[in-house]
Amino acid sequence: MTPRSLLLVHPVTWTIWLGTTLLTVSLTRNPLYLLLLLFGLTLVAETERPTGRATPLDPIFFAVIAVSFGALFNAATIRYGDTVLVALPASWWLIGGPITLEAVVFGMINGLVLSALVAGFGAFGTAMPISALISLVPRAFYPLAVVMSVAVTYVPLTIRLAGQVREAQQLRGHQVRVWRDGLPLLLPLLIGGLERALQLAEAMAARGFAADPPSNQVRMMLVGGLAALFAGLLLQFAWGQVVAASLTMLIGTGLILWALRESGQQAPRTRYRLYRRGIRDMIVLLGAGLTLIAVLAPWPGRASLAYTPYPMLQLPIFEPLLALALMGLLMPVAVRLGDRYLP
């Protein structure tokens, strides 16, 4: 299977989708919406998963653990809320005090937020082949993209070599009795790897590979940008100068981004694999855009995103329109299922 046949929408579209997802989840505290998001995102991951590949981390399973842990932890440490379930003796170190229903619910919501984030990343991870992910690396980090490619290419080879080394050592009577016996397995692998690196480097150099270090101008910009960020941090949090802080931080951000751009343009590269944008990208982006508007725009329904169980537990509000807007994140599923009907 080629990376193209696996990937229905452009890697950048997927990245925008992920960004929207993460933002949406982190702005949501309403458990009803969170559950909706969790199941929706799990569905995206499921439809994107190539047949035969196992899910690395089942989001629902993760959610069960995260929610129970969140509930336990929060209940054990938070002491307010009006509905007291049990009161532990106050003399108990660290955990003494009343345990409230509100704290339990609050903890569960924490767990849900985390699980939905994990589900979003999971969907992104299953959808994107590694080569597409590497193609997303900005040009400024070209050498690191090559490092990643080399590493990904050498993983299966190294696993095979490890098998070879293990057999070779067995043939000279090596047995793993204590864990230090791992050394005769590790060292030939390491030495072989280093020798291979030398050969690979020659082959790369012979094909004209050479990375260009960032110029001093770029580095000066980095120093300036970081200094501005740091100054902005102090202004904002230590001295409370919000306007000045925002300005300084903006300048710093600009400088760093500018430096990255400059550094990327020092050595031009072209790309062989081209991912095309098409109607599918439009659908996914429109869906994500709808969600984004719903969670950011000032309209009455937006208030239902927020929810707090304190001081007294009450049912969260459910706004059907907002729920519908959140479903905009499910457009990748629609694209995948309706692929046959799209041009």
């Binding site: 080629t2 080569s131 090559v146 490619s149 080399v150 990904v152 290419t153 299966p156 080879l157 070599l161 070879q164 080394v165 057999e167 070779a168 050592q169 067995q170 043939l171 000279r172 009577g173 090596h174 047995q175 005769p184 060292l187 030939p188 030495i191 072989g192 020798e195 291979r196 050969q199 690979l200 480097a201 020659e202 082959a203 790369m204 150099a205 012979a206 094909r207 004209g208 590979f209 050479a210 050595a267 031009p268 590269r269 072209t270 790309r271 062989y272 694999r273 081209l274």
Partner: protein, 547 residues
């Protein structure tokens, strides 16, 4: 086109020069073969062509190199990559990306070739090297020969005027090697590409090259047309050795060229009686008096395989002590499976294997290896200690045997490694590294020895040394089993040849019977003198003298 003028080079921290005042001229469109013993600086010479030496290796340079108008020493590999493409020995350690197409495009992407042109160039080289059907494949799923073709395609994508190859076939089996060499001939003939190739298997390349450059250990170089250089070079294939001794002129370089000489001398006729006689006579003098065979390894009704597909079915085999047995056969026919069964790495489904009278069922690999030692294909995967002697001590310690320094000294002397005793094994030449690994498996003095493709990457000298060593051990009573594709080596050392076919053994007998008339496995000498039972240069020389 390529011009070396008084080029000398010395590696950093080395007392003697590697290349000594090399002067050479290689015209555009020529196909040049570089020969020389291991460590004579073949690779160094090649790396001077694209500036890897000295830009990558350090060291000191004097004199000059010119490729057309370019000076690689001044320009360095990055600029030279547009003019000189280079392919390396290892089919696996020269790839950056996972897939064929991406790998070919890598250098072009890096050189910022515009996209439209990039696509055209990738298509071109895919076609040029017959790789179009493989374009979307993962490199790990390709054979060694296919991978080397991808490596050639990847360098040709930059459209260099010169293609340099550093022993591109030494890690390949003969079939894959042929594949690669055929591709090179096509490139040279059809495109007029200038090719410089360093290669051990000169017998396959000699008929097709225009020039031969021969290096010696002192870093000196002679060059000229192949017939001229091979008339005096110590490194030559068996065919040339015989032709030189017989005084055939002009010197034949291929079987086709040599046949008329043999026919003229009346040595090529089919003569059934001569086969038996000369063959056996020649062999008897090489092996000495025969001993009554004592079975060392016995295999009865072996069935083995992976998953649901049995590779071996009902195989019976007895290997005697004091005998060198060669196992041959196509790739993937089950040689490795049989080998793995013998040493306990793979449990057979059915059947029994007995070594020195005891069944190996239920014994672990370590225990079996004390009676039947095995040298794996990659001896490097074994070596990790700081000194050669330490490698041998490690094995003794693994088996919980006392470390006997006298024994180590004796074995190292046999292996010709006494002077390398305290060296770092990984710094040695491939032949020496292999002998260190051989020492590491045989320091326990096993009665049997298994070698898997031991001649891969070895030059003539190292092969001869290995052959001598195996002969000596076999005379001392060891049972030796060698798996090999290398027919010349097989002809040289075998007492008995087995050919593995679909599911079982299809041929078993003395080498002159099994190899002599096989169209696939016959060595060069047997092809020149069909029906005489001669397999090696020394057989032929003896026979010619008697004539």
């Amino acid at each position: 086109m390529i011009e070396f003028a008084q080029l000398s080079y010395r590696y950093p921290d080395q007392p003697q020069v590697c290349l000594d005042q090399v002067s050479l001229t290689l015209p555009a469109g020529s196909f040049t073969l570089v020969i020389g013993p291991s460590g004579s600086g073949k690779s160094t010479l090649l790396r001077c062509l694209n500036g890897l030496v000295p830009h990558f290796s350090g060291g000191e340079v004097a004199g000059s190199v010119r490729i057309a108008a370019y000076d690689p020493i001044a320009l360095g590999p990055r600029v030279m990559s547009r003019h000189v493409g280079m392919v390396f020995q290892s089919p696996e350690a020269q790839f950056v990306l996972e897939r064929v197409e991406d790998e070919i495009a890598f250098a072009l992407e890096h050189a910022a070739v515009p996209r439209e042109q990039l696509r055209i160039r990738v298509e071109e080289v895919l076609d040029l090297l017959d790789l179009a059907p493989l374009r979307d494949r993962l490199l790990t799923t390709l054979s060694g020969g296919e991978r080397q073709r991808v490596a050639i395609a990847a360098t040709l994508a930059l459209q260099p005027e010169v293609l340099v190859l550093d022993e591109p076939t030494s890690q390949l089996d003969p079939q894959s090697a042929d594949d690669v060499l055929q591709a090179l001939v096509r490139l040279n003939h059809d495109l007029g590409l200038t090719i410089v190739l360093a290669e051990h298997r000169s017998e396959r390349v000699l008929p097709i090259v225009d020039l031969v450059v021969a290096l010696d250990r002192a870093g000196r170089v002679v060059s000229g047309p192949p017939r001229e250089i091979l008339a005096t070079s110590p490194l030559c294939p068996p065919l040339v050795t015989v032709a030189r001794a017989a005084g055939w002129q002009p010197l034949p370089l291929s079987v086709k060229e040599a046949r008329p000489f043999a026919t003229r001398q009346g040595l090529a006729q089919q003569d059934a009686i001569a086969v038996g006689k000369t063959g056996e006579a020649g062999r008897a003098s090489a092996t000495g008096p025969t001993r009554p065979p004592r079975p060392y390894l016995e295999i009865r009704g072996l069935e083995a395989g992976y998953g649901n597909t049995p590779v071996l079915r009902n195989l019976d085999l007895t290997i005697a002590a004091g005998e060198i047995t060669l196992l041959m056969g196509r790739n993937g026919i089950g040689k490795s499976t049989l080998l793995k069964c013998m040493i306990g790495l793979l449990r057979p489904r059915r059947g029994e294997i007995r070594i020195a009278g005891r069944s190996i069922a239920g014994r672990d690999v370590a225990a079996i290896s004390r009676e039947l030692a095995c040298l794996p294909q990659e001896p490097d995967s074994m070596l990790f200690a700081d000194t050669v002697a330490d490698e041998l001590r490690t094995t003794l310690r693994n088996h919980r045997l006392p470390v006997n320094e006298a024994l180590i000294d004796e074995l190292l002397a046999q292996l010709g490694l006494s002077e390398r005793r305290e060296r770092y094994p990984r710094d040695l030449s491939i032949g020496e590294r292999q002998r260190v690994a051989l020492g590491a498996i045989s320091i326990t003095r096993p009665g049997g020895l298994l070698l898997d493709e031991p001649t891969r990457g070895l030059d003539y000298e190292a092969k001869a040394m290995l052959g001598g060593l195996l002969r000596q051990w076999s005379r001392e009573g060891s049972a030796i089993i060698v798996v090999s594709h290398d027919v010349e080596f097989v002809a040289e050392i075998a007492d008995r040849v087995l050919i593995l076919g679909q599911g079982g053994l299809i041929a078993d007998g003395p080498p002159w019977n099994v190899l002599g008339n096989s169209p696939l496995f016959a060595p060069q000498i047997a092809r020149i003198f069909p029906g005489r039972g001669w397999l090696t240069a020394s057989n032929a020389l003896q026979g010619l003298q008697q004539k």
